[in-house]
């Protein structure tokens, strides 16, 4: 008798939990990023962020140690190669600085508007929890001025490579949706043909750049880069500043009788070794005022 009673109370509990889950799915599906659920989500995420930071600061050096142990023999040679490359790049950079100064003065002369970008450095403290979403958690949040949808890059500020965009923020941490996530899309431009298209994440596979016109020329000999495009619709700027490197074209597909062709793009960032990123904060208030 007692067992039957217990079985019934278990069934009641399960029915209640399933009903609550279904209610949560419905409410969240309808209300999106507002409401009590979002607040609860922020609470959970900010509770776990300090722990993630602590664990990753312990785990990362261990991982680095073992991976460097495996690569030890080739390190000296690689170091030499990199040193020569650094010397070359220093020269190029000096030339570029000269060019940047000239461009600045010309832009001022023409009265062109320049976009000032403030960047917030952050450390990657965790990866996404699911196999179906590609994201990382960083250790800066709304307290540091990070807002949802801000672009995230890595590399030097004069050669930024696109990482993704801010998806969620808590006061002390943010979740960054990576470029390779299946929900990610960014307008891009091929470097030589200046052809524009939409670059979309494909998970583990290379990115896919769609909406190219059919006869687009993609050079086979030298790697073609894809950069973000700055655009403006109805006075509203796109999310991404122009000129962030997205990746290089890995394959071009064009069928002669199709309306559009596409290329696949290998991301410029190695997401498995991502450690530091920059969040690009553009003056939001300026944007509202600008015509």
């Amino acid at each position: 008798m007692a067992i039957r009673q217990r079985a019934r109370s278990t069934r009641v509990l399960v029915v209640i939990l399933v009903a609550v889950s279904l209610a949560i799915i419905t409410v969240d599906y309808r209300s999106g990023d507002a409401g009590p659920l979002a607040a609860a989500g922020r609470a959970v995420n900010s509770a776990i962020a300090p722990l993630q930071r602590a664990v990753s600061s312990v785990v990362q050096p261990i991982g680095d140690f073992f991976s460097s142990l495996a690569r030890l023999p080739s390190l000296a040679e690689r170091n030499r190669a990199l040193q020569t490359e650094v010397d070359d790049l220093k020269t190029v950079r000096q030339a570029n600085q000269e060019l940047a100064r000239r461009i600045d003065s010309l832009e001022q002369l023409l009265g062109l508007e320049t976009i000032t970008v403030r960047s917030i450095p952050a450390r990657v403290i965790a990866s996404g929890v699911s196999n179906f979403e590609w994201s990382v958690t960083i250790d800066r949040g709304s307290d540091d001025g990070i807002l949802v949808n801000m672009p995230v890059v890595t590399g030097a500020s004069d050669g930024p490579r696109l990482v993704g965009r801010v998806l969620r923020v808590t006061p002390i941490s943010s979740t960054v949706q990576l470029l390779i996530d299946r929900d990610f899309a960014v307008p891009g431009r091929l470097s030589t043909s200046k052809e524009m298209g939409l670059v979309e994440g494909r998970g583990e596979d290379d990115l896919r750049m769609d909406l190219l016109s059919p006869g687009v020329e993609v050079s086979e000999t030298q790697p073609e880069s894809v950069f973000t495009v700055g655009y403006r619709v109805n006075g509203q700027r796109g999310l991404y500043p122009p000129g962030l490197l997205i990746g290089t074209v890995s394959r071009a597909f064009s069928e002669p009788d199709s309306v559009e062709s596409y290329v696949t793009v290998r991301p410029a960032v190695d997401f498995s070794t991502l450690e530091y990123v920059l969040v690009l904060a553009r003056g939001r208030s300026d944007e509202e005022v600008a015509p």
Binding site: T10, L13, V14, V18, D28, A40, I48, S127, S130
Partner: protein, 168 residues
Amino acid sequence: MRRAVVLIAVILTALLLQTTVFPELTLLGIKPELLYLVTVVFAALRGPEEGALVGFVGGLAQDFMLNTPKGITALTLTILGYTVGLARQYITSPSPLLPAILVALGTAAGVAFHQGVGFLIGEEDAPFGYLAKVVLLTAVYGAILTPIFYPVLRRAAAATHAGRVVRF
């Protein structure tokens, strides 16, 4: 009270390992599903009621770290915990591999169910090949990890109740 603290500690630890350690330790690029493992083991040890409860709380916590509508993982793991807890009562196999087998089957079914619900509400668009790979590899990885986590989880499950512990 003690039960709530132990449960929260177990779930937080699982989420923490899932997001910091296991992204570095993938099986052919696929992370394990530790909360599915925790739910199955708790359900096998403590029955359908505890299984459903652990699944719901753990699933909800995981949902808050996902971009899909909240509640899908909670739903999946509630049903998974209840089903495994019920099924466990009818299995009399003394095999020491039983927990690993239950985790593998439970994870495969759970991941497929989760993606099925996501597909029905129009959220998931992962190609079938990738889905099959994830289902298979998370199941295998879960089975591999079970012997490592099982002793810890059994102790945690015992701590949630002062009374007797179901062993197998």
